[in-house]
Amino acid sequence: MSDLIAPLNEAGVAAAVREAGAMRAPLSIEGHGSKRGLLRPVQAARGLTTRGLTGITLYKPTELVLSARAGTPLPEIEAALAEHGQMIAPEPPDTRGVFGAELPATIGGIVATNLSGPRRITAGAMRDHLLGIRFVNGMGEVVRNGGRVLKNVTGLDLCKLLAGSHGTLGVMTEVTMKVLPAARASATLAIAVPDLATGVRALSAGLTSPFGVTGAALRLDAAGPVALLRLEDFPDFVAYRAGRLRDDLAAFGDVTVIEDSAAIWRDVRDAVPLGAMPEDAIWRISIRPSAAPAVAAALQAAFGARLLLDWGGGLVWIAGPATEAAHAAVMAAAAAARGSFTLFRAPAPMRAAVPVLPEEAPALAAIGARVKAALDPFGLFNPGRMRSSL
């Protein structure tokens, strides 16, 4: 990108958008650009970054609320929360490894991509913890939606619409998140399961127990598949529940209780156990957990896919050759399971050539085009990012 506009405040973002609107000159929208390789390459000569908009603007630990300007680096927010023993519960991934980025994600970028880690299965996604936003729409107006209170149904929820819209509907300038106390202790049950299907059943058994499992992943290690179930709470609670779960899950395989498991979950969060080769493409499929074994078998048969399961089997990370044939197999497996797929990482020509997300039904696509026009009438924001037509 030859030209990157980096305003230092919200008014500057609005001015840049108005100027781009007057020139009908589309913009690539980003924070630190750490996920530039996600989805389709953007068709824009100029870029607009929110990295100049930094700083936590409000943090009330006892009200469980934090606001920060969109360009605030995520580690800065996590450090401020840690001082008060709190966290962003969905534990958003650090995708620097996957994309080879140097700078960490910004809070705006994480919200705009709605990326959540292992705790999503019980704590909800980033969008579930988003309380309010300020954003600049395609007319260059600053629009507020949501607020700073935990319960709010006043008007249409544009927060959720913009979360996960990959910067195609507006430029977020500030976000307000619900934050939660971090657990005092955690432990992980690692179950050596005979096969993937048994592993998914073990994860289901954990998630349908009354013990409040907060992570449920399946790693396909060289030594064999390992089902991982995380417990988080006060130390005595964790000890009690680990004991109960160990007894309940013994039938699935040998159970080991790991006391210090933060690194295990950081790796799962960041898809490290996927073992993707640098030249591999990476996909994510979201399905109902019981469909995971069939999806896994189909992809292993099609191209010897490397796999990592999270969210109790409901999220399948896939690595394989960056070919259209492999992509077609992923799309077919997702469709067969009535699930959703994302082409998460691939060389730019491939990302430009294939659908990186499932197509929408015509009636919904028509609504989508009108919604896009309602927020971004001149088509300024990230053209081509999600779909070639949008």
Binding site: L64, L150, L156, P210, S286
Partner: protein, 475 residues
């Protein structure tokens, strides 16, 4: 009194033709057009507002909903969706020239899968009906609005309903996987699915809480959760609202998120005690009901920690339930709060603003001052953990000036909520009740942005056009 958009005379003139067309699309018993039989549909939980509709239809299938929507779209007929009619904000209030689509016949549970932790139900299944269908396996559907015995899941999606336990489990939006929806044009579309976080725009999130303005939900895929080993409540009474508020801050600051944290002020305590005889302390200025979950040992441990925190705030009394029965007794008064207030006053308005929890003492003080100023009594019950305030303003509906004063008082409370950094509605929705206050929270261009989204779904503004947004002069 709230204004409704003027009816279209050409639609009123075509009433017989429209009823005949609906009868051609649906079985005869699914079309109601006689005044006497339409009467139950003229109002909802906000019974101060009434309006007879053009006709009422009661479809049994998504295809029937789509047929009616397509006909209405093609003929310029307005449509008002309705679930159980429990809305406290007038969310189901009809229009004189609108067809009401009542969803109560779509009440089948289509699928339950415990391993995948989901249920697929039609929109007319009641909130509690979902839990009843899964509780034999120890599961439940988490959002629990007070009206859960009657209210329907389709309406819960429309209003993004909450409940007493959403501090831990979230509101409706956090517990959905997918929707089947009929668009204003009569197309049937699926949003989300039976999995988490479908790629693409978050239509599910936009639809939830859209108050029936963007489409009509006919099927809902919800997450069901395995319940905890057990739950137990305690009661803590304090000498001042400010002290109780500080205790709430201290509990949350200690890293404990109770599954429920309810606050009642003195008038509310008295009303509930007279009604339920729950053993509430009548000398307290404020009372908390705190519920925790887990094994018996975990409950004990959490309740001990909370007791220790409350003791720092010089409580008048602390009562920890030792059994499920004692927990139920503690909850009995709170759950009957609306009925209890209904016993001491002929009528009441239930407000629903949310405030930053730190503003609670100030807001309660101001509400007390306004109560004197308006000459109307108010009882406050409050989801303390999340700041969702429910002042119950008592008035006499037979006295028009009393009702107008109550409305003005309620409006002032909601303006105060916005002033201190909160919002107009935490879980009841804007409906018609708070529609004309939207400018207090949003700037004109912010409302226009939301209206433009409505227009994207419903270019002709046929679906619930009189809800949420202040009427435009041009409309």
């Amino acid at each position: 009194m709230i204004a409704l958009p003027p009816p279209k005379p050409e639609i009123l003139a075509r009433r017989d033709e429209i009823v005949a067309a609906l009868l051609a699309l649906l079985p005869a018993d699914a079309v109601i057009h006689e005044a006497l039989r339409m009467r139950p549909y003229e109002t909802d939980g906000l019974s101060a507002y009434r309006q007879m509709p053009l006709a009422v239809v009661l479809p049994s299938t998504t295809a029937q909903v789509a047929a009616v929507m397509r006909y209405c779209h093609d003929n310029g007929v307005r449509v008002v969706p309705r679930g159980a009619g429990t809305s406290l904000s007038g969310g189901a209030l009809p229009l004189e020239d609108a067809v009401v689509i009542g969803m109560m016949r779509m009440n089948r549970i289509l699928e339950i899968d415990f391993d995948d932790r989901l249920a697929v139900v039609e929109a007319g299944v009641t909130n509690l009906g979902i839990t009843k269908a899964v509780e034999h396996e120890g599961f439940f559907y988490a959002p629990d609005p007070s009206s859960q015995l009657a209210c329907m899941i389709g309406g819960n999606v429309g209003m993004n309903s909450g409940g007493a336990h959403c501090l831990k489990y979230g509101v409706t939006a956090n517990n959905l996987l997918g929707l089947k929806l009929v668009t204003p044009q009569g197309d049937i579309i699926d949003l989300g699915g039976d999995h988490l976080d479908a790629a693409g725009y978050d239509w599910l999130g936009l639809m939830t809480g859209s108050e029936g303005m963007l489409g009509i939900v006919t099927e809902v895929t919800v997450r069901i959760l395995r319940g905890p080993e057990g739950a137990r409540a305690m009661l803590a009474a304090f000498k001042g609202t400010e002290i109780a508020g500080a205790a709430v801050d201290a509990i949350i600051g200690s890293g404990i998120i109770p599954v429920a944290l309810e606050f009642m002020d003195k008038p509310c305590i008295h009303a509930c005690e007279a009604f339920a005889h729950a053993g509430y302390p009548l000398d307290a200025e404020a009372m908390l009901i705190i519920e925790v979950e887990g094994s018996v040992a975990e409950q004990d441990s959490l309740l001990d920690r909370i007791k220790e925190i409350c003791n720092r705030f010089d409580p008048i009394s602390l009562k920890v339930a030792t059994s499920a029965e004692e927990s139920m007794a503690i909850w009995k008064g709170r759950k009957g709060a609306f009925g209890a207030v209904g016993r001491i006053s002929p009528d009441y308005l239930c407000m629903d603003g949310t405030i930053p929890t730190g503003e609670l003492p100030f807001v309660l003080k101001r509400i007390g001052e306004m109560s004197v100023q308006y000459g109307l009594q108010v009882a406050n019950v409050f989801h303390a953990g999340d700041g969702n305030l429910h002042p119950l303003i008592m008035f006499d509906a037979n006295d028009a000036s009393s009702f107008h004063k109550a409305e003005a008082f309620g409006g002032d409370i909601l303006k105060l909520c916005v002033e201190v950094g909160g919002c107009l509605t935490g879980e009841h929705g804007v409906g018609v009740e708070k529609r004309d206050l939207m400018h207090v929270q949003f700037a004109p261009h912010e409302l226009d942005q939301q209206r433009a989204i409505k227009t994207a779904f419903d270019p002709a503004w046929l679906l619930n056009p009189h809800k949420v947004f202040p009427l435009l002069d041009a409309a």
